[in-house]
Symmetry: C2
Subunit: 193 residues, 2 copies
């Protein structure tokens, strides 16, 4: 297998293991075994486990912003519907996925937020980028008079993302998408007006 | 040290280690070392690590509902202020605590929600009990015409808890209570009316 392909394979397998079991509970050896890559070759591809973890985060954000752009660049939708559809897509995904996993970035924020500043920095950038996208739609919704002009779009964008992350925790616990439906109803019917 | 005291000490030390490092990253040996209890005596006090973890959750909920009752039984406050003060207390705590740790129950829900049904059951009970307390205050607020009678108090109580849990993730990441202030402003000024 060419070097870049092996590297990508390690990242893909590692991201799945980390998503399922957490970063600290995923061993380098386990990743190499799953990928069928010879023992000891990990450091040929990555400087350290941290370097690997940060590249896994890059893989997550690539997926996330692909999904986000698909919805957020669909100008046939109203600005609020772009935001709503983005979350609805994930709700569909979790319905099919038996409500497992949650948000990889939220999970790592929970696990690594107190202990690793490099993770913290990268995850903060991801949250910030998500927030800016939502804020942009909220501003457009204000210009189009779909929501009140008095809404602080920055705070609302942040609140929406955080509330979604919290709803995902409850989903994992209850094994039901009820918390996501409640999020959807309250945010898009009661809050954004 | 008497048996019950040793047991309580193990639970207290274990709860701090689990809060800091997670359940899976906390070893029985580490707890025994910290508690200065002889190797091998763990199973004299607990049936298994799972049994230990579930008793740690009981310790957390005892603390949590003590704090909750202090505020929720203070009838000098309006029903909404009872809810608000409960969260404000934790905001003060996290300000002093350099925004670390987050909610022990939320952290464990994230970590254990997919992999352990006994944890899931106990944590669901804790979330349910919190929800019922908040719902009760919201109903009282409706009776007193402080909030709209059309609000679904069950869904709002659930949404408030989940949004708080999500704000705590962001707090851990940003090392700032801004996400908690935003939660406070949007929930108590914009949503509950």
């Amino acid at each position: 297998m060419p070097k870049t392909e092996t590297k990508h394979n390690l990242l893909k397998i590692g991201s799945e293991l980390i998503y399922k079991n957490g970063y600290n509970n995923t061993g380098i050896q386990e990743i190499l075994n799953e990928a069928d890559v010879p023992k000891g070759s990990f450091y040929f591809y990555f400087q350290s486990k941290e370097d690997f973890g940060l590249q896994v985060l890059d893989l997550y954000q690539e997926f996330l912003f692909d999904r986000m752009n698909q919805r957020f660049e669909d100008y046939s939708l109203s600005p609020l519907d772009r935001i709503k559809k983005f979350f609805d897509d994930f709700m569909d995904y979790f319905s099919k996925n038996h409500c497992t996993g949650g948000c990889p970035v939220g999970n790592l924020a929970q696990e690594m937020g107190d202990i690793n500043s490099a993770f913290r920095e990268k995850m903060s950038e991801i949250f910030e980028k998500m927030k800016e996208n939502i804020k942009y739609c909220l501003k457009e919704a204000q210009v189009k008079n779909h929501i009140s002009g008095t809404i602080n779009t920055n705070d609302y964008a942040e609140f929406i993302i955080n509330s979604w992350e919290g709803a995902l925790i409850k989903m994992k616990l209850s094994k039901s998408t009820d918390a996501l439906s409640i999020f959807d109803g309250i945010v898009f019917k009661d809050l954004l007006k």
